[in-house]
Amino acid sequence: MATKEVKPDPQWTDPATGEYRVIGLGQTFRSITEKISRIVLTPETPLGWFAFFGIAGAGATLLLVAVTWLFLKGVGIWAITQPVAWGFAIINFVWWIGIGHAGTLISAILLLFKQGWRNSISRFAEAMTIFAVVCAGMFPLIHIGRPWLGYWMLPIPLTMNVWPQFRSPLLWDVFAVSTYATISVVFWYVGMVPDFGTFRDRAKSKFGQYIYGILSLGWRGSARHWMRYETASLLLSGLATPLVLSVHTVISFDFAVAVLPGWHTTIFPPYFVAGAIYSGFAMVLTLAIPLRKFYHLENLVTERHIDNMGKVMLATGFIVAYGYGMEVFMAWYSASHWESFMMWNRMFGPMGWSYWVLIACNIAIPLTTLWSRKLRTNIAFMFCISLVVNTGMWFERFVIIVTSLYRDFLPSAWGTYRATKWDYMTFIGTLGLFTTLFLLFVRFLPMIPMNEIRMLLPGAKIGPRPTSKAAAEKAGD
């Protein structure tokens, strides 16, 4: 890409390699440890945190209200009916789980590719994954109508002697999503153990020492432990990579295996995965940009991170654009009356506006502007673009589900879809729940992996036997 015309600020480049710095100048092992642990170990919580927590908590309460009413009245309070039987619940499910994918991509795939810059953002991207999966996993459960029978989906011996149907992608989903949630939590926790050790040793309060001491499992940083730990992290990344690709693939099978025009297509798996990463990186930006500002982490989450995330979004955005293009092409090339009607109806039918919102938010705005490095390193712009892409990806799921369903083969069966206030409340409620969990994470857990950041510092390089005095000075500053 044309990077040569912009002269980088010398403060942000490494004189040895000429590359952009991942971590700001002048950081030491101790300074970054203090910077990150102070956020958690301080007894004072910033007022701004309480303000956000109040708003997010109100959202989460809204979810509680919406779900309580749902359990009392049933799914009839939502807009789902024939022909659109999969409404907001499945849109939100696919959207949320897609958002989670970027966390795994950053923590696992970029680790395998040895992308050191990922270290600063990997932890909260993983947290984002877990909270997104929490929100996502809830939707199929409350969508089944009788959530207290949700355990029927599991292959467990019941007195009824009924077993699940293993040929259905909906059941594959159960395994894909539950495995994804479990592995994400384990990966996240394993990553935090050494940092809990740091917290244990730095906590002033007895309570903090106990809690972080137990969470750290007694981590003491032995070289033997570190080697097994590194192997386990690498293996977990290697396992999470095919897992994350399989999760959205299996979710796309929910659609692609059906014979409905608009769903029955082989491009869905790659296009879903790319879309997931696209929206996930947008969500990482939505979270990272206010966070680095609020907690003054500009030295750790640098412009290079924002720039790189912009590049990933550009690449995945184009895969998504290819997917949209192929859908249109296949609608014509298939010579199927139903396929081409579906596409015409999707673009110009009564709900055609949603398709154009999607094209504007996912293609027109981001894919024309993200080429420019100037814009990619403009923090305010990147924040706005992240919101635009999040909206666009939500509409992608809306378009796939609603516009494929509401006018199917027989005109007499046509209907429409208009979400009720309970649909909106549930959706807004999950946004609240997600933000609440994230705020708790930022306040009580290490949001930046200290042990991984230390490896990026110049002091971590083992030189070819310098005099110990010079080495001490180098590590000291």
Binding site: R220, S246, A460
Partner: protein, 180 residues
């Protein structure tokens, strides 16, 4: 483990990973075996220096993954063919391609859990108490910015006075005796 008394070992503190690695390499060359390095982030060279090579985490992960794969595939087959046969549009009961997806997921699930818990088990964690936590400079340094080499009393070469003098030759910040 029976309660031990006396000295656990001698702990030398260094400022840089380079100093630690050189000291550990020298100590290994000089015949020390019962020793360990403690660092605030993974230092691969330190593990090499103390001669740590046998890492069984990959093996455990492989075994776990194969177990998950077998368990799920056999479970699906048993359920679909014997326990609860369903005629879905006349398809064969043993429709193995459809069984691949959950079996694949469980391979990853079991392998991942084996990697994480196997790693903790091999490391002997959780172990909330360890004699090293008694060293006054260990807890502030080992998880922040200091690099430690510990010569353990179980080594046959260990003699408190001699080992201390030996460690001093590496010019560490300090050498402290660690009690059980």
């Amino acid at each position: 483990m029976p309660a031990r008394e006396g000295t656990y070992g001698l702990l030398a503190e260094f400022d840089t990973p380079g100093d630690l690695v050189r000291a550990a390499q020298q100590a290994r060359q000089d015949g020390w075996r019962r020793m360990d390095c403690y660092t605030p982030y993974p230092v691969e060279e330190a593990a090499e220096a103390i001669g740590f090579h046998r890492n069984r985490v990959p093996l455990l992960t492989l075994i776990g993954g194969l177990m998950g794969l077998t368990a799920m595939f056999l479970g699906e087959t048993w359920i679909s063919v014997w326990a609860y046969p369903l005629n879905i549009a006349g398809r064969p009961l043993y429709s193995w391609p459809a069984f691949i997806v959950p079996a694949y997921e469980w391979t990853i699930l079991f392998a991942g859990l084996s990697a994480a818990f196997g790693m903790f088990a091999l490391n002997g964690l959780p172990a909330l108490y360890h004699p090293l936590f008694n060293a006054p400079n260990f807890r502030d340094g080992a998880t922040t910015d200091k690099f430690f080499l510990c010569l353990e009393a179980l080594d046959p070469k260990f003699d408190l006075v001699e080992a201390k003098a030996y460690l001093e030759t590496f010019q560490p910040n300090s050498v402290v005796e660690v009690e059980y």
